[in-house]
Symmetry: C2
Subunit: 429 residues, 2 copies
């Protein structure tokens, strides 16, 4: 670029960024979620943005297209072996395998980081976005206790955000798999993928596709199962007359998990399958009741082998992921995010006369020592201008240090307009 | 990768990642720094990891080599126009220019994010690392008040970390520049760059290089100035007999700023120049007294035109950056980082008998509602095993819900070993 010329920067499609008053909201969401995660004793880890391509592609070809590789702009060295992570599950699996001997099991971790995907941007899809993940893995086996815990954490984390009512669907992959096995269906994954679309393409649509490879009876039975959304699911499934051990185990597990969860927000839906082949037990997905057509905002489930690409040990686990940026940008677009103040400042200390300089600093320091966020006004200025400044930045209190105008220190409450004299040593917000 | 084969992942050179007990320390550092930034009323912003290459290279050719470009692994679309940011200053400048009409000035922001540089990794150099930046910019002019504030924030942020004594050097670019102009030196930037190396190559080394392009008298005078490190700097500089308006202004500014700062930790050093050509006034850099040979850990200064590549308006500002990862990894390597507990759990609720299940959950929920981080033990297990679990994870308290063994709920303090009966409703840590 030539010296002195101006390049007008543009927003880059798919890479959201917020103004301070909305970033403050996003930050408070991140804080809330972290608080819930930690309240259940999950520890923070952070992995680099970058992984070896061999690690990123270990799950198979389906995700390759979405990976961003990195390379040096003027680099002599070839460096196309690295890419940005596209989720937090693969890095977590790699982390557990790599640090296996240094971790304590069951290993309970959370991870809140940005991920990158080379997708074509569209509503609700981003190329850079936050995910907030919680997972627990153990050697060999992991009690059903954690299925309940992870579903509860997801629920409470979402509840800590102003999202309105939630609609969380719950199922267990063993039910679908066992049922299909009981029906002697040879390609269960294909049928599962179709049934997972029930709420998108409807009963007739699903039947049509199923019937291309399954018998009428099989297709009908599959649909009957997938339609079950009742608390009475054990009886309803049993009434369909299919017998299979995996199916029975799935029903037992789902009963135990469901009965332990808040039944106002969780409901049974035997059609959900959470796409990915690696889920093997409990699964759940959350939507916002106010936006039934908007995609899933958080989801998770149980898997048998977390890190099977990287380590021989079986590491069963259960986890979930909240699509923070997706939710945030949706509510922002719907006008449902109330902007916060443009700054974290709680108190402005005004500066009206030149000789107040030291006093302004002293008061500011004293209040900061009490844990209050304080701005000292940055120059001698007119009263009106300083009040306007506090107003614009959403600052709640202005303190007027003693001066020729007011013999005592005073505080103005910006909301009520009330102004009273105070003793700084004892005053707090 | 073939199904079923194992790929043993390796650490990627230059991309640090920590075990949970050290990540907990890093997270507490990030929290501490954020708290200091917010206590002065600076707002958070976050910019995408990615910027247009035209934005990243706007500062000139010197930094091009360090930039990582991104491209889609299997992408048809050409996408080499984007790169990862290598600092937070360029993204900040771009942000201010792009959102100029939506921001309030003086605009006070902080930004704590990872940045990426395609450097050859070596001790204290990383390819991915955290920077913690604070800046304030204004239209047209910015009072000297903020020079003091930013230096104070840097000082307090560093002070909030367990770094031992600090050595912060302070100067003002106008002094060097005015002095050189007063000496009629034609290429001042070259001389400034050489003088900045005084503590590395010593008086003789600097003199030799200076004398290649300057007269003996000029070289000697430059060195005399650069050697000044005394609180009495105004008099010492004046005694050198060079007269120049910019020099006088620099001396006035430095006097005012220095007198307002904690003189135990700040000291004058007229040799420092902070390399970058864009600094134009106050400059400061911090080192750790315990590691005098270790590089600068935080630095900052005043600049005239933050976003001159992106916007016509003059935006003078002052800011500073803390190299968090660099400091953290240095102290870790020196064995000076005390690991935290492996989990944020404060209380473990034990589960010794099957029929305690509901009680364990209820107690856990009650304590979480009080803001305590609680793990419910995940299965019925031997007492010894549960105590060992708490011990390994660094959990401070174990609660034993009432059972056949203990008629009342009890708590064990893991540090003292003391065990007493409690009333859960009133108990807290």
């Amino acid at each position: 670029m030539k010296e002195g010329s101006i390049y007008k920067p543009r927003a880059i499609s798919g890479y959201p960024e917020w103004l301070p008053e909305y970033r403050a909201v996003e930050l408070s969401w991140l804080d809330s979620i972290r608080k819930v995660f930690e309240s259940f004793g999950y520890c923070s880890i952070e992995t680099p943005a970058v992984e070896e391509l061999q690690v990123l592609t270990s799950k198979g070809e389906s995700s390759d297209k979405e990976i961003y590789c990195i390379s040096r702009l003027n680099g002599e060295e070839k460096n196309a072996e690295l890419g940005l992570h596209y989720d937090l599950t693969v890095p977590f699996a790699r982390y557990v395998a790599q640090h296996y001997n240094d971790l304590d099991f069951p290993f309970k971790r959370y991870q809140m980081q940005k991920v990158w995907r080379g997708e074509r941007p569209q509503e609700g899809r981003f190329r850079e976005f936050y995910q907030c993940d919680v997972d627990v893995v153990n050697h060999e086996s992991l009690p059903l206790f954690f299925d309940i815990e992870i579903a509860t954490i997801m629920y409470q984390a979402l509840l800590s955000l102003p999202l309105g009512p939630l609609d969380i669907k719950l199922s267990n992959r063993k039910i679908l798999e066992g049922f299909l096995a009981g029906l002697k269906i040879e390609n269960p994954n294909e049928a599962i993928r179709v049934l997972d679309k029930l709420d998108k393409i409807g009963v007739d649509g699903v039947y049509k596709i199923l019937n291309q490879s399954l018998s009428e009876e099989q297709s009908k039975q599959c649909l009957e199962l997938a339609k079950i959304q009742s608390n009475n699911f054990v009886k309803e499934v049993t009434n369909l007359g299919v017998k299979n051990d995996t199916l029975s185990q799935g029903l037992d597990e789902l009963s135990e998990v469901f009965s332990a969860l808040d039944q106002k927000s969780f409901s049974i839906d035997l059609s959900i399958a959470r796409g990915f082949d690696y889920y093997s037990g409990t699964i759940f997905e959350a939507k916002l009741k106010n936006y039934p057509h908007f995609s899933t905002v958080a989801a998770g489930g149980r898997y048998d082998k977390l890190a099977s690409s990287f380590i021989k040990q079986d590491l069963p686990g259960i986890g979930m992921s909240i699509g923070l940026t997706r939710i945030f940008s949706k509510l922002l677009a719907e006008g449902k995010i109330e902007a916060k103040a443009k700054s974290p400042t709680q108190v402005l200390v005004s500066w009206l006369e030149a000789d107040q300089k030291e006093k302004v600093q002293k008061i500011s320091e004293k209040l900061r020592a009490k844990g209050i966020n304080v701005e000292a006004y940055h120059c001698v200025d007119k009263l009106k201008k300083q009040i306007k400044y506090a107003d614009r930045k959403g600052i709640s209190y202005i303190i007027f240090p003693a001066s020729s105008l007011n013999p005592k220190d005073e505080v103005k409450n910006m909301q009520t307009g009330e102004q009273t004299s105070i003793d700084i040593e004892n005053w707090t917000i």
